[in-house]
Symmetry: C2
Subunit: 340 residues, 2 copies
DNA sequence: GTTGGCAGTCATCGGGTCGGAGTGCCAGTC
DNA sequence: GACTGGCACTCCGACCCGATGACTGCCAAC
């Protein structure tokens, strides 16, 4: 049974350990945070915390470090969050203000987030969502291939290369392009999907194979809502925290580069209090990321909501990172035209 | 003065050291590669090599390792290159064959290259070059901002967000869009730049500020040929070769993430024999990448030629990586529609 | 030019010692 | 019942030491 003070002790153990990477002893606790009791009393509390699996000793008679469960209790305990410093706010505004396009906005944002948190930052590309078709472009690419470009209202652009199998006349492509714009322009993506069903019927039989191939491509583009790409930054921060990883950071770096893993992990996270999802160490088992924690929030665009977050060693500054993610998500949402 | 055999000795020192990361001793050389002479003779050759600064001893009486200058001599010495194995060729074809769009092609290619070389791979985005304007799109984005999209013949798409300062009528945007397409469509990028000069004149005075802002944006897009973005992959490979970096890999990772540095470095490289540029350690001073080597080749698109390459510790498999870069560049060029 | 031999150098490794930090427990106090 | 002071015990990490072995550099001889 952990007492009221016991939770306070857990809090300072987490804070001190995060700050110093040194196991925290009972004596150090009373020295740095006068609890008004002696170290022996703290030791009793620590015994209770260890009993409950919230802290552990790396070896007999060393200080204690938090377990995953301990971090979890700590995170669930957070009540008030310290707001960002004005310097940090200023950094966000000046950093993101100069962006020239969507790619650039995201690239800058992800770098900013990695700097604010000193972790690896990750952002999901915005989804097309309920947007409308603005324009369809079809370009020949060599003799037998073409590229289809779909521009949606919110500024997202989807491109695809399609192999047509046999040489085609540019004039035919041009015709498909014109008719596709007429047929799809202004429709929502959902409506466009339906409209594509009948699209091929209007063409002469000789044009059918070409049109069918292109329609197939467009259909994919329209529905590829969840093509979900990631941008990330700050892998150097991982190297800096290398001692926090028992073996090597190589498998962690690999898992991060293997975006599929991260996308799956992201999609499993459920937002907690403060609007930020937190997954600590073994809580996300089976991803090969047992020594890492993942924090994820959401940002909004006119087309829907996507995720952004950070990943780093379980020994991280949870309150600080939660604040940073929330702040960046808010600015990003505003920048992309959605009042969060 | 380094003898004929001395260069052979240098070669095996480089090869063995690259393979094992162990300093190479005279005895090991005669054991593994029967030179037909005794170890004492090899020692004399090694003394000459050290005299010339091609090899060095980490400490008195250990084996020798190549210096930057030694690697340079080794690379300049390479005459024949072993072709890729059929398994590797197969990997390239099957890996790149499934790409759906330009982004995807480059993402796959860069991952492939990092796997083939076990280094960090980098690819410059294709430049627009001498292509023609295919389509201009202008989308409102919130009340006071808009996005301009420029689609060029080769499939490259440039997007920009422009802040218009004050609310604008969608109808005005629409008019600019229509006239811009009429005025620029089909022009080469160079011609488009000229055409933009007079573009604003046709509009009514009340529309001028809006048009001017948009034209400014389009002008940038048209001439932003060298906006040069990078994709990269394989940073996990850096972590794996960590022992090759005296301090930590952190500064190296930082320099790589700081794409500006890499772009500058890339642009300074001159192709050598085999069509691949090689820069070894201190040869590129002042970039904070003294312990790394950079290999770079070029690939071609209809719009021009861009770079791709790898970066890793100076202790790398130069011949193997040169071959891999050449092969990948060739496939990539073919895939993008340019017979290399 | 090449060789065998030999002294000298230096990193590495295992083992042994020592100090210190920190715990667990217990008897005593409020 | 909660808290405290004290004390024995454990174990990590730093340090030192000597033995080992891999190399080199040099020299005299072929």
């Amino acid at each position: 049974m952990v007492s009221e003070r016991g939770l306070e002790v857990l809090r300072v153990i987490v804070e001190d350990y995060v700050a110093t990477r040194e196991p925290v002893g009972s004596k150090a606790i009373v020295e740095r945070h006068g609890f008004g009791v002696s170290s022996a009393t703290i030791r009793n509390d620590m015994a209770a915390l260890e009993e409950d699996g919230l802290i552990a000793a790396p070896h007999t008679s060393s200080g204690r470090i938090p377990t995953d469960k301990g971090y979890r209790a700590f995170v669930d305990q957070i009540s008030s969050l310290r707001p960002l410093t004005s310097a940090q706010r200023h950094a966000i505004e000046s950093f993101l203000g100069q962006a020239v396009d969507l790619d650039d906005v995201l690239a800058r944002t992800v770098r900013l987030l990695s700097q604010l948190t000193s972790q690896v930052a990750v952002i999901e590309y915005p989804t097309l969502g309920v947007q409308r078709v603005r324009h369809v472009e079809i370009l020949p690419l060599g003799a037998t291939r073409a590229m289809t470009v779909l521009i949606a209202d919110g500024g997202r652009v989807e491109q695809r290369i399609v192999d047509l199998g046999e040489p085609v006349e540019p004039a035919d492509l041009e015709e498909v392009r014109a008719r596709a714009n007429a047929a799809l322009g202004g429709l929502s993506l959902d409506e466009a999907l339906v409209a594509l069903d009948d699209f091929a019927d209007e063409f002469s039989p000789s044009q059918r194979p070409l049109v069918t191939a292109l329609v197939e491509q467009l259909r994919e583009q329209v529905s590829a809502d969840r093509q979900a790409r990631l941008v990330m930054a700050g892998t150097a921060n991982l190297a800096r925290t290398e001692p926090d990883f028992p073996g090597s950071i190589t498998p962690v770096l690999e898992a991060i580069e293997e975006q599929v893993t991260l996308l799956r992990l992201f999609s499993e996270l459920e937002a907690e209090q403060h609007g930020i999802a937190v997954s600590i160490g073994h809580e996300h088992d089976g991803f090969g990321l047992d020594d890492t924690s993942v924090l994820a929030g959401r940002y909004g665009t006119p087309g829907g909501r996507s995720r952004l977050g950070v990943i780093g060693p379980t020994r991280m500054d949870y309150p600080g990172n939660i604040v940073a993610i929330r702040a960046v998500a808010r600015y990003l949402s505003r920048l992309l035209g959605e009042q969060e």
